[in-house]
Every structure is written in C-alpha cells, then in structure tokens.
Amino acid sequence: MPARLQAEAFDLATELQGFGSGAGAVVTFSGLVRGEDGRLTGLEIEHYPGMTEKALESYGLEAARRFHLSDWMIIHRHGRLEVGETIMMVATAARHRAAAFEGAEFLMDWLKSRAPFWKREITADGPGQWVEAKDTDEDALSRW
C-alpha cells in the first residue's frame, strides 16, 4: 500500500528502495519533530483510526491523477515521538521535476490541514498544549 499509518519508526532509505523506477524525477519530503530550542522533548500524535487511512489514500490517488505521478508513497506515524524523529514522509515520482515537486507539495498541503491528525507538545513536565493549526496552512490549500 502506498499510503501507510504506523506507530513504529521507518527508514527513508529502506522505503525508497525501488521507488519511482523508470521515472526521471523523485521528490521526497520528511517532517521531523523540532525541539523548539529545548522547550519540547517530543510530540504525541493523535489520529482518527479508519478515517486517517482513507484520507491518506484518497489524497495520494488524487495527487497521482492530477500530476501524472508514476509512483507515490505516504507514511505517517502516530503516538509518541521524540525530538529529531521523522513524523512522516511523502515521495513522488514523475517524468519531469515540476510534476514531482507539485505532487509532493499538494500532498503536504492536504495532509497538513485535511488528514485527521492532531499534535500535542510533550515537555519535561509531561503532555502540554495541543499544537494550533496555522492560517497559512489553511491558505496553502487555496492554490490547488
């Protein structure tokens, strides 16, 4: 399945083996947990089981259709993640670079604001604030 949801860590290199074979351009995006200058120790990511899987797959298929991607992949983790860990990745493959870049950006804009994930900050004192959605993320969708 090119769209995958999991609690476990994954390895970019392993996931990319054989990815995009025959394509001329491959783009990857990885999202990592930032420490915010030592304020955070990690993130807790909640999601909506059932809906999440359907959303990831439907955005992936839509990106493939719109940008003629020859291959695509989405992996998103949930649960507890430490600073520096990889939260998620998307990869896109196409004949030329413009489509591969656009496909990856389209996927990221949709995942950020339309896939049912919610991030909560973890500090040394335990679970903290829920991360607030940014207007800029909502605005980013309007370009597609």
Binding site: M51, L111, K112, P116, W118, K119, A133
Partner: protein, 83 residues
C-alpha cells in the same frame, strides 16, 4: 435514530470521553450540535466556538449543514495539524 459520536484532541478532553452513542432526531449536523451542547456543561464548553470545530460524517469531512440521514458515525475535532 442512533448514531456514534466521536471526539478527538481537546474536544475529547473537554467532553471527557472519546465516543458516545446518541439517540437523536437531528436533521443536520448543526441540529445535533445543539442537542449535544444542551446535555451538560462539558459538551456546551467543547462545542461553544464552532469556528474551532471540524466535523466528519461517516469519516468524510463535511460542514455543519450536512444532513444526517443514514449516517452512523459523526466525529467532532479541532482543525487538523498533521504532516
């Protein structure tokens, strides 16, 4: 009809549980919100600012005016922050 209502993130925390089964005659999501908000202070507080609430009917994102006919699972949650 009987539907399952789910809550996520801070809506879940304010209401105090992740899911409940509700008997309702609501026609739209908005009608259901009114019924839930009238149940107790926790529901009222969680659902007080509807600009901060997103809704999915049977796992599809929709809006407050969506009809409930035939729906089995309604979810309320804050704006999403994935990726």
């Amino acid at each position: 009809m009987v539907i399952d209502v789910l809550y996520f993130a801070w809506l879940r925390e304010r209401i105090g549980h992740p899911r409940e089964r509700i008997e309702t005659e609501a026609v739209t999501v908005r009608d259901l919100v009114a019924q839930l908000a009238a149940m107790d202070d926790w529901h009222a507080s969680a659902l007080s600012d509807l600009k901060a609430v997103r809704v999915a009917v049977d796992q599809e994102l929709t809006d407050l005016d969506a009809p409930l006919a035939g729906a089995r699972e309604i979810a309320f949650f804050p704006p999403m922050t994935g990726g």
